[in-house]
């Protein structure tokens, strides 16, 4: 199933592996950053509700 490449196969797979790592890393950091920001906003809004009720 994996395609056969000529003598430069190592270079091709290395590029795509690095591509996957860098793009994957970017996607991961963005998703984590978004989730953290959303959670922080929810927590802050909850705290203001409490403060207003008191």
């Amino acid at each position: 199933m994996i395609p056969e490449f000529d003598k430069n196969a190592a270079f091709i797979w290395a590029s795509y592996a690095l591509g996957a790592v860098m793009i994957g890393g970017a996607i991961l950091t963005v998703m984590i950053k978004a989730r953290l920001a959303q959670a922080e906003l929810a927590r802050t809004q909850a705290r203001t509700e409490e403060a207003r009720r008191k």
Partner: protein, 243 residues
Amino acid sequence: MFSWFANPHRFLTLSSWLAPICYALGALLIAWGLWQGLWIVPKDEYQGGDIMRVMFLHVPAAWLAMASYMGMAVMSFIWFIWRHEVADIAAKAIAPLGATWTALCLVTGSIWGKPTWGTWWQWDDARMMSVLFMFFLFLGYMALRGAMDTRQKAARAGAILAMVGAINVPLIKFSVDLFTSLHQDASVITVDGPKMAAVYLWPLLASGLGHSLLFAGLVMTLMQAEIWQRRAAQIRARLIAGD
């Protein structure tokens, strides 16, 4: 169209459905481009055999390096003139992602260059040199924004630098082309789109569009994160001020 930039709330609703579409479509196109590029497309002896398959990752990254910087410069210009907050948020979100794809372009280019030119860094390749300096422009932008103490100053300083950088890109490109054209014998690899065989062209366009859509989705998600972060900060500030 400009009012769209003005208000973060409208952007949140817009991006809530647009970002997932970009991710889905982008993933689809990248997968198809990859499948074609690595499995289906025949080897091209003239262009060094299988190694040219790296182009389905390298060329989209090169395109995004340039396009993302120009996008960042346009957003900076809109923010600098009309002070639409969303434009600044967009410029701030583009920078790290643009730098990532620019780095990816440099890395894949140097890996591609090793078997082709026998060196990890080919000084006489005009495109690689231009992308290298785009990378420094991104780093300078992020470093400057990071060094400023308030959000408003970071936005203004960043906007000035992005616009100055954008004005200089053509000059940098021209001087680099002149520099490399004098030293370089005819380069073996000429990857210019239209003349390429159709069988290579479609996967390349698909990969290019796929990466661009993925990039757009990530920018929108990063922008959402920034808007939520600012909202939380504003609520905390009001909490402290006690009103």
